[in-house]
């Protein structure tokens, strides 16, 4: 609940994280329409989102979604700081960096809540779910690692990580 409250802006519509991210997208000249880039992103990017949705939509996978959330929150503060610093280095303003800066502070809180209060307590109360929790956490790190690896490989070879790169929208 504490994490969801933050994600939805603590009751302030302009602080809903999806809204702040949309502002960041517009700030770098991207289209913030829903699924605007659906056909552009590679399969691994969709796999990452689909896996998270699959865990979250199936009650029998509750251990996996909790493990996924914990691993995600526990590994996001520092990368978000790097994203924010990167955009600042390239001369973008707070309209773009706000989303990332927000997550440095927010995810430092969520890390503790998701890792200890949520996943830790669930593992203690329902030890039979421990393998699912660990699976969800490992799956998060593995699949998101593939997504990042795909992008970094493309960039280090001097090409876009997107499909149909070069096609004008």
């Amino acid at each position: 609940m504490e994490i969801q409250s933050d994600e939805y802006g603590g009751g302030r519509p302009e602080r809903v994280h999806a809204e702040i991210f949309a502002t960041s997208m517009r700030g770098v000249g991207l289209d913030d329409t829903y699924a605007a880039y659906f056909d552009e992103v590679p399969a691994v990017t969709l796999a990452s989102q689909n896996m998270m949705s699959m865990f979250g939509l199936n009650r029998r996978l509750i251990g996996a979604i909790v493990g996924h959330l914990a691993a995600f929150e526990m590994t996001s503060s520092i990368p978000n700081q790097m994203y924010g610093d990167g955009f600042r280095r390239l001369g973008f303003g707070t309209n773009v960096t706000d989303y990332f800066d927000e997550h440095v502070e927010a995810d430092a809180v969520h890390e503790q809540i998701a890792g200890r209060d949520l996943a830790g307590v669930l593992a203690e109360e329902r030890p039979e779910l421990l393998p699912d929790i660990m699976f969800g956490a490992a799956a998060c790190l593995a699949v998101d690692g593939w997504v990042a690896g795909q992008m970094l490989d493309a960039w280090s070879e001097g090409r876009s990580s997107l499909r149909n790169a070069g096609r004008t929208r």
């Binding site: 503060s77 700081q81 927000e102 440095v104 502070e105 995810d107 809180v109 503790q112």
Partner: protein, 66 residues
């Protein structure tokens, strides 16, 4: 929620999380604006956004004796 008692929880190998109704102030007494209901305060001393935690305790290998 407006009269919620504050609570202060030190998390093992991590920050101190403060919840409830409270005010954060600088040494000069100025109120530090708060963007969320629960905040994580740096305990390892290495955060770049002090007094808040930025997760640096993990790569720094910060450990508490719990």
């Amino acid at each position: 929620m407006s009269e919620e008692m504050p609570s202060i929880t030190p998390y093992p190998d991590g920050p101190i999380i403060v919840r409830g109704e409270f005010e954060l102030r600088t040494a000069d007494g100025e109120i530090i604006p708060r963007k969320r209901r629960a905040v994580a305060l740096c305990r390892c001393g290495l955060s770049s956004i002090k007094p808040f935690c930025d997760g640096t305790h993990k790569p720094a290998g910060f450990r508490t004796e719990d």
